[in-house]
Protein backbone atom coordinates (compact mmCIF):
# COMPACT_ATOMS: atom_id res chain seq x y z
CA UNK A 1 0.00 0.00 0.00
CA UNK A 2 1.25 3.45 -0.81
CA UNK A 3 2.25 5.20 2.41
CA UNK A 4 0.68 8.44 1.23
CA UNK A 5 -2.86 7.09 1.65
CA UNK A 6 -2.88 6.77 5.46
CA UNK A 7 -0.63 9.82 5.87
CA UNK A 8 -2.93 12.04 3.80
CA UNK A 9 -6.04 10.67 5.51
CA UNK A 10 -4.60 11.37 8.95
CA UNK A 11 -3.56 14.89 7.91
CA UNK A 12 -7.08 15.60 6.67
CA UNK A 13 -8.67 14.19 9.82
CA UNK A 14 -6.33 16.25 11.98
CA UNK A 15 -7.29 19.44 10.18
CA UNK A 16 -10.98 18.55 10.49
CA UNK A 17 -10.50 18.23 14.24
CA UNK A 18 -8.59 21.52 14.25
CA UNK A 19 -11.52 23.25 12.57
CA UNK A 20 -13.89 21.73 15.14
CA UNK A 21 -11.79 22.89 18.09
CA UNK A 22 -11.59 26.42 16.72
CA UNK A 23 -15.15 26.80 15.46
CA UNK A 24 -17.36 24.96 17.93
CA UNK A 25 -18.97 26.71 20.87
CA UNK A 26 -20.26 23.83 23.00
CA UNK A 27 -17.54 22.38 25.22
CA UNK A 28 -18.56 18.77 24.53
CA UNK A 29 -18.33 19.32 20.78
CA UNK A 30 -14.82 20.68 21.34
CA UNK A 31 -13.98 17.47 23.20
CA UNK A 32 -15.27 15.45 20.23
CA UNK A 33 -12.99 17.42 17.92
CA UNK A 34 -10.04 16.75 20.21
CA UNK A 35 -10.86 13.04 19.91
CA UNK A 36 -10.75 13.38 16.12
CA UNK A 37 -7.27 14.92 16.31
CA UNK A 38 -6.04 12.15 18.62
CA UNK A 39 -7.38 9.53 16.24
CA UNK A 40 -5.58 11.13 13.32
CA UNK A 41 -2.32 10.87 15.26
CA UNK A 42 -3.10 7.22 16.05
CA UNK A 43 -3.61 6.39 12.38
CA UNK A 44 -0.27 8.00 11.58
CA UNK A 45 1.47 6.03 14.32
CA UNK A 46 0.01 2.70 13.17
CA UNK A 47 0.80 3.30 9.50
CA UNK A 48 4.41 4.24 10.16
CA UNK A 49 4.84 1.38 12.60
CA UNK A 50 3.67 -1.15 10.00
CA UNK A 51 5.95 0.45 7.42
CA UNK A 52 8.99 0.44 9.70
CA UNK A 53 8.43 -3.07 11.00
CA UNK A 54 8.64 -4.37 7.44
CA UNK A 55 11.10 -1.98 5.85
CA UNK A 56 13.63 -1.43 8.61
CA UNK A 57 12.83 -4.71 10.41
CA UNK A 58 12.18 -2.81 13.57
CA UNK A 59 10.70 -5.22 16.11
CA UNK A 60 10.16 -2.79 18.96
CA UNK A 61 6.66 -1.90 17.70
CA UNK A 62 7.00 1.49 19.32
CA UNK A 63 4.27 2.96 17.13
CA UNK A 64 1.65 0.46 18.21
CA UNK A 65 2.66 0.67 21.87
CA UNK A 66 2.39 4.45 21.69
CA UNK A 67 -1.00 4.11 19.99
CA UNK A 68 -2.28 1.98 22.86
CA UNK A 69 -0.96 4.50 25.37
CA UNK A 70 -2.59 7.32 23.43
CA UNK A 71 -5.93 5.52 23.46
CA UNK A 72 -5.73 4.98 27.23
CA UNK A 73 -4.74 8.59 27.85
CA UNK A 74 -7.56 9.77 25.59
CA UNK A 75 -10.02 7.74 27.65
CA UNK A 76 -8.70 9.30 30.87
CA UNK A 77 -8.77 12.73 29.28
CA UNK A 78 -12.37 12.42 28.17
CA UNK A 79 -13.41 11.32 31.67
CA UNK A 80 -11.71 14.26 33.38
CA UNK A 81 -12.83 16.68 30.68
CA UNK A 82 -16.46 15.66 30.97
CA UNK A 83 -16.30 15.92 34.76
CA UNK A 84 -14.96 19.48 34.42
CA UNK A 85 -17.63 20.38 31.86
CA UNK A 86 -20.36 19.00 34.12
CA UNK A 87 -19.01 20.94 37.12
CA UNK A 88 -18.94 24.15 35.06
CA UNK A 89 -22.45 23.47 33.81
CA UNK A 90 -23.63 22.98 37.37
CA UNK A 91 -22.10 26.21 38.63
CA UNK A 92 -22.78 28.46 35.66
CA UNK A 93 -25.74 26.84 33.96
CA UNK A 94 -23.99 26.73 30.59
CA UNK A 95 -21.45 24.65 28.73
CA UNK A 96 -20.79 27.45 26.25
CA UNK A 97 -17.09 28.20 26.19
CA UNK A 98 -17.65 31.66 24.70
CA UNK A 99 -19.40 32.71 27.91
CA UNK A 100 -16.67 31.58 30.30
CA UNK A 101 -14.77 34.86 30.25
CA UNK A 102 -13.84 35.44 33.87
CA UNK A 103 -10.14 35.75 33.12
CA UNK A 104 -10.67 37.86 30.04
CA UNK A 105 -8.71 41.12 30.07
CA UNK A 106 -10.98 42.95 27.67
CA UNK A 107 -13.96 44.79 29.11
CA UNK A 108 -17.26 44.61 27.32
CA UNK A 109 -17.95 47.87 25.49
CA UNK A 110 -21.44 48.13 26.90
CA UNK A 111 -20.77 50.93 29.35
CA UNK A 112 -20.63 51.09 33.13
CA UNK A 113 -23.35 48.49 33.51
CA UNK A 114 -21.10 45.72 32.32
CA UNK A 115 -18.87 46.01 35.37
CA UNK A 116 -21.82 45.78 37.72
CA UNK A 117 -23.10 42.81 35.75
CA UNK A 118 -19.72 41.14 35.92
CA UNK A 119 -19.50 41.77 39.66
CA UNK A 120 -22.94 40.33 40.09
CA UNK A 121 -22.05 37.27 38.04
CA UNK A 122 -18.85 36.68 39.96
CA UNK A 123 -20.78 37.10 43.19
CA UNK A 124 -23.21 34.48 41.99
CA UNK A 125 -20.37 32.19 41.06
CA UNK A 126 -18.80 32.60 44.48
CA UNK A 127 -22.12 31.91 46.11
CA UNK A 128 -22.54 28.80 44.00
CA UNK A 129 -19.09 27.62 44.98
CA UNK A 130 -19.82 28.37 48.62
CA UNK A 131 -23.01 26.34 48.53
CA UNK A 132 -21.34 23.54 46.65
Amino acid sequence: MHLAYPAVLSALLFCTGLYGVLARRNAILVLMSVELMLNAVNLNLVAFDVWLSKTAEETLHSGQALTLFTIAIAAAEIGIGLAIVLAVHRNRGTADIDKLRDTSERHDPDGPDSDALAAEQSGEAQKAEATA
Binding site: M1, H2, L3, A4, Y5, P6, A7, V8, L9, A11, L12, L13, F14, C15, T16, G17, L18, L22, A23, R24, R25, N26, I28, L29, M32, S33, E35, N39, V46, F48, V50, W51, L52, K54, T55, A56, L60, H61, Q64, A65, T67, L68, F69, I71, I73, A74, A75, A76, I78, I80, L82, A83, V85, L86, H89, R90, A95, D96, D98, A132
Partner: protein
Protein backbone atom coordinates in the same frame (compact mmCIF):
# COMPACT_ATOMS: atom_id res chain seq x y z
CA UNK B 1 17.30 6.35 14.06
CA UNK B 2 15.83 3.71 11.83
CA UNK B 3 13.70 6.34 10.12
CA UNK B 4 16.79 8.45 9.52
CA UNK B 5 18.63 5.41 8.20
CA UNK B 6 15.83 4.57 5.83
CA UNK B 7 15.57 8.13 4.62
CA UNK B 8 19.30 8.17 4.16
CA UNK B 9 19.14 4.99 2.11
CA UNK B 10 16.37 6.47 0.02
CA UNK B 11 18.24 9.74 -0.39
CA UNK B 12 21.64 8.33 -1.25
CA UNK B 13 20.35 5.34 -3.12
CA UNK B 14 20.67 5.33 -6.88
CA UNK B 15 17.72 6.35 -8.96
CA UNK B 16 17.09 2.86 -10.38
CA UNK B 17 15.78 1.77 -6.97
CA UNK B 18 12.98 4.30 -7.03
CA UNK B 19 12.15 3.60 -10.63
CA UNK B 20 12.12 -0.10 -9.90
CA UNK B 21 9.75 0.57 -7.01
CA UNK B 22 7.59 2.64 -9.30
CA UNK B 23 7.64 -0.19 -11.84
CA UNK B 24 6.47 -2.77 -9.38
CA UNK B 25 3.91 -0.59 -7.63
CA UNK B 26 2.71 2.00 -10.10
CA UNK B 27 0.62 5.03 -9.29
CA UNK B 28 -2.23 4.28 -11.65
CA UNK B 29 -2.79 0.63 -10.80
CA UNK B 30 -3.89 0.58 -7.17
CA UNK B 31 -4.22 -2.73 -5.44
CA UNK B 32 -7.45 -3.96 -3.91
CA UNK B 33 -6.29 -3.00 -0.43
CA UNK B 34 -5.61 0.52 -1.61
CA UNK B 35 -9.04 0.82 -3.19
CA UNK B 36 -10.69 -0.44 -0.01
CA UNK B 37 -8.59 1.95 2.07
CA UNK B 38 -9.57 4.84 -0.19
CA UNK B 39 -13.30 4.08 -0.04
CA UNK B 40 -13.36 3.61 3.74
CA UNK B 41 -11.19 6.69 4.09
CA UNK B 42 -13.68 8.76 2.10
CA UNK B 43 -16.50 7.58 4.36
CA UNK B 44 -14.41 8.33 7.45
CA UNK B 45 -13.44 11.80 6.27
CA UNK B 46 -17.02 12.64 5.27
CA UNK B 47 -18.32 11.52 8.66
CA UNK B 48 -15.65 13.62 10.37
CA UNK B 49 -16.71 16.67 8.33
CA UNK B 50 -20.35 16.12 9.32
CA UNK B 51 -19.27 15.68 12.95
CA UNK B 52 -17.69 19.11 13.13
CA UNK B 53 -20.31 20.93 11.07
CA UNK B 54 -23.71 19.55 12.04
CA UNK B 55 -25.92 21.71 14.21
CA UNK B 56 -27.61 18.79 15.99
CA UNK B 57 -25.49 17.90 18.96
CA UNK B 58 -26.58 14.28 19.34
CA UNK B 59 -26.10 13.68 15.62
CA UNK B 60 -22.52 14.91 16.00
CA UNK B 61 -21.85 12.16 18.55
CA UNK B 62 -23.47 9.54 16.30
CA UNK B 63 -21.42 10.62 13.27
CA UNK B 64 -18.36 10.39 15.50
CA UNK B 65 -19.21 6.69 15.88
CA UNK B 66 -19.04 6.32 12.08
CA UNK B 67 -15.68 8.09 12.01
CA UNK B 68 -14.17 5.95 14.75
CA UNK B 69 -15.55 2.74 13.23
CA UNK B 70 -14.10 3.69 9.86
CA UNK B 71 -10.74 4.24 11.51
CA UNK B 72 -11.00 0.77 13.07
CA UNK B 73 -11.50 -0.68 9.57
CA UNK B 74 -8.45 1.26 8.39
CA UNK B 75 -6.41 -0.30 11.19
CA UNK B 76 -7.60 -3.73 10.07
CA UNK B 77 -6.53 -2.95 6.50
CA UNK B 78 -3.11 -1.96 7.85
CA UNK B 79 -2.94 -5.42 9.57
CA UNK B 80 -3.06 -3.88 13.05
CA UNK B 81 -5.87 -6.04 14.33
CA UNK B 82 -5.30 -5.59 18.06
CA UNK B 83 -5.36 -1.80 17.76
CA UNK B 84 -8.54 -2.09 15.70
CA UNK B 85 -10.40 -4.02 18.37
CA UNK B 86 -9.10 -1.78 21.12
CA UNK B 87 -10.37 1.14 19.08
CA UNK B 88 -13.82 -0.42 18.83
CA UNK B 89 -13.94 -1.29 22.53
CA UNK B 90 -12.59 1.92 24.04
CA UNK B 91 -13.68 4.59 21.59
CA UNK B 92 -16.97 3.34 20.21
CA UNK B 93 -17.83 1.47 23.37
CA UNK B 94 -17.03 3.95 26.09
CA UNK B 95 -15.82 7.34 24.90
CA UNK B 96 -18.86 7.93 22.71
CA UNK B 97 -21.14 6.67 25.48
CA UNK B 98 -19.47 9.12 27.87
CA UNK B 99 -19.91 11.94 25.36
CA UNK B 100 -23.60 11.11 24.99
CA UNK B 101 -23.94 11.08 28.79
CA UNK B 102 -22.30 14.48 28.90
CA UNK B 103 -24.56 15.87 26.19
CA UNK B 104 -27.65 14.71 28.03
CA UNK B 105 -26.45 15.85 31.47
CA UNK B 106 -25.76 19.33 30.14
CA UNK B 107 -29.29 19.33 28.72
CA UNK B 108 -28.33 19.54 25.07
CA UNK B 109 -31.31 20.47 22.95
CA UNK B 110 -32.79 17.82 20.71
CA UNK B 111 -32.93 19.16 17.19
CA UNK B 112 -31.08 22.04 15.62
CA UNK B 113 -29.36 24.41 17.99
CA UNK B 114 -28.53 27.74 16.34
CA UNK B 115 -25.47 28.52 18.45
CA UNK B 116 -23.44 25.37 17.89
CA UNK B 117 -20.82 27.28 15.89
CA UNK B 118 -19.07 30.29 17.31
CA UNK B 119 -18.61 33.58 15.49
CA UNK B 120 -15.07 32.91 14.33
CA UNK B 121 -15.86 29.96 12.10
CA UNK B 122 -14.50 31.62 8.98
CA UNK B 123 -11.15 32.25 10.65
CA UNK B 124 -11.21 28.63 11.83
CA UNK B 125 -12.02 27.44 8.31
CA UNK B 126 -9.14 29.48 6.90
CA UNK B 127 -6.68 28.08 9.43
CA UNK B 128 -7.87 24.50 8.91
CA UNK B 129 -7.76 24.65 5.10
CA UNK B 130 -4.35 26.29 5.12
CA UNK B 131 -2.87 23.72 7.49
CA UNK B 132 -4.52 20.87 5.56
CA UNK B 133 -3.02 22.11 2.30
CA UNK B 134 0.42 22.50 3.85
CA UNK B 135 0.34 19.11 5.57
CA UNK B 136 -0.95 17.20 2.54
CA UNK B 137 1.59 18.86 0.29
CA UNK B 138 4.51 18.08 2.57
CA UNK B 139 3.39 14.51 3.25
CA UNK B 140 2.76 13.62 -0.38
CA UNK B 141 6.04 15.21 -1.41
CA UNK B 142 7.96 13.35 1.29
CA UNK B 143 6.49 9.87 0.85
CA UNK B 144 5.86 9.79 -2.89
CA UNK B 145 8.04 6.74 -3.44
CA UNK B 146 7.34 4.83 -0.25
CA UNK B 147 5.24 1.72 -0.07
CA UNK B 148 4.06 -0.34 2.88
CA UNK B 149 4.66 -4.04 2.43
CA UNK B 150 1.53 -5.69 3.74
CA UNK B 151 2.46 -9.24 2.75
CA UNK B 152 3.80 -11.83 5.11
CA UNK B 153 2.94 -12.11 8.80
CA UNK B 154 0.78 -9.34 10.16
CA UNK B 155 2.77 -6.57 11.78
CA UNK B 156 0.11 -5.81 14.35
CA UNK B 157 -1.25 -9.18 15.33
CA UNK B 158 -2.15 -9.67 18.96
CA UNK B 159 0.88 -11.90 19.48
CA UNK B 160 3.37 -9.38 18.11
CA UNK B 161 1.78 -6.46 19.92
CA UNK B 162 1.59 -8.29 23.23
CA UNK B 163 5.16 -9.55 23.01
CA UNK B 164 6.59 -6.11 22.33
CA UNK B 165 4.31 -4.47 24.87
CA UNK B 166 5.28 -6.76 27.72
CA UNK B 167 8.95 -7.12 26.79
CA UNK B 168 9.89 -3.56 25.97
CA UNK B 169 7.13 -1.33 27.29
CA UNK B 170 6.29 -2.75 30.71
CA UNK B 171 7.28 0.30 32.74
CA UNK B 172 5.23 2.80 30.70
CA UNK B 173 2.35 0.33 30.83
CA UNK B 174 2.43 0.25 34.63
CA UNK B 175 2.78 4.03 34.81
CA UNK B 176 -0.29 4.25 32.60
CA UNK B 177 -2.31 2.17 35.03
CA UNK B 178 -1.37 4.63 37.80
CA UNK B 179 -2.49 7.46 35.52
CA UNK B 180 -5.82 5.75 34.90
CA UNK B 181 -6.33 5.39 38.63
CA UNK B 182 -5.52 9.07 39.14
CA UNK B 183 -7.98 10.01 36.40
CA UNK B 184 -10.66 7.86 38.00
CA UNK B 185 -10.17 9.47 41.41
CA UNK B 186 -10.06 12.93 39.85
CA UNK B 187 -13.28 12.38 37.91
CA UNK B 188 -15.08 11.21 41.05
CA UNK B 189 -13.78 14.11 43.13
CA UNK B 190 -14.82 16.61 40.46
CA UNK B 191 -18.25 15.04 40.13
CA UNK B 192 -19.27 14.68 43.77
CA UNK B 193 -18.69 18.27 44.81
CA UNK B 194 -22.33 19.26 44.45
CA UNK B 195 -25.33 18.42 46.61
CA UNK B 196 -28.74 16.95 46.00
CA UNK B 197 -29.36 17.60 42.31
CA UNK B 198 -25.93 16.44 41.33
CA UNK B 199 -25.91 13.14 43.18
CA UNK B 200 -27.43 11.51 40.12
CA UNK B 201 -24.76 13.21 38.00
CA UNK B 202 -21.96 11.79 40.07
CA UNK B 203 -23.51 8.37 40.03
CA UNK B 204 -24.05 8.24 36.32
CA UNK B 205 -20.61 9.65 35.66
CA UNK B 206 -18.93 7.02 37.75
CA UNK B 207 -21.17 4.36 36.25
CA UNK B 208 -20.20 5.41 32.75
CA UNK B 209 -16.62 5.62 33.84
CA UNK B 210 -16.68 2.11 35.23
CA UNK B 211 -17.58 0.82 31.79
CA UNK B 212 -14.38 2.26 30.46
CA UNK B 213 -11.78 0.10 32.00
CA UNK B 214 -12.43 -3.27 33.55
CA UNK B 215 -9.39 -2.86 35.74
CA UNK B 216 -10.87 0.16 37.46
CA UNK B 217 -14.37 -1.19 37.70
CA UNK B 218 -14.01 -2.53 41.21
CA UNK B 219 -12.70 0.72 42.63
CA UNK B 220 -15.46 2.69 40.98
CA UNK B 221 -18.16 0.41 42.36
CA UNK B 222 -16.86 0.64 45.90
CA UNK B 223 -16.61 4.40 45.53
CA UNK B 224 -20.20 4.51 44.36
CA UNK B 225 -21.29 2.53 47.36
CA UNK B 226 -19.43 5.04 49.46
CA UNK B 227 -21.33 7.96 48.01
CA UNK B 228 -24.58 6.23 48.73
Amino acid sequence: MTLAATVGILATGPIPITTAAADTHGFLSPTGVEIAFLLVGLVTFGAAIVTVTTRQLVHAALWLVVTLGGLAVEYLLLTAEFIAWVQVLIYVGSVVVLLLFGLMLTRAPIGRSPDADSGNRWAALTVAVASAAALVWVVVDAFRTTWIDLDGPAAGSTEATGASLFQNWVLPFEALSVLLLAALVGAIVLSRKAKAGAATTAESTSAARSEKDPRTEKGSRSEKEGTR
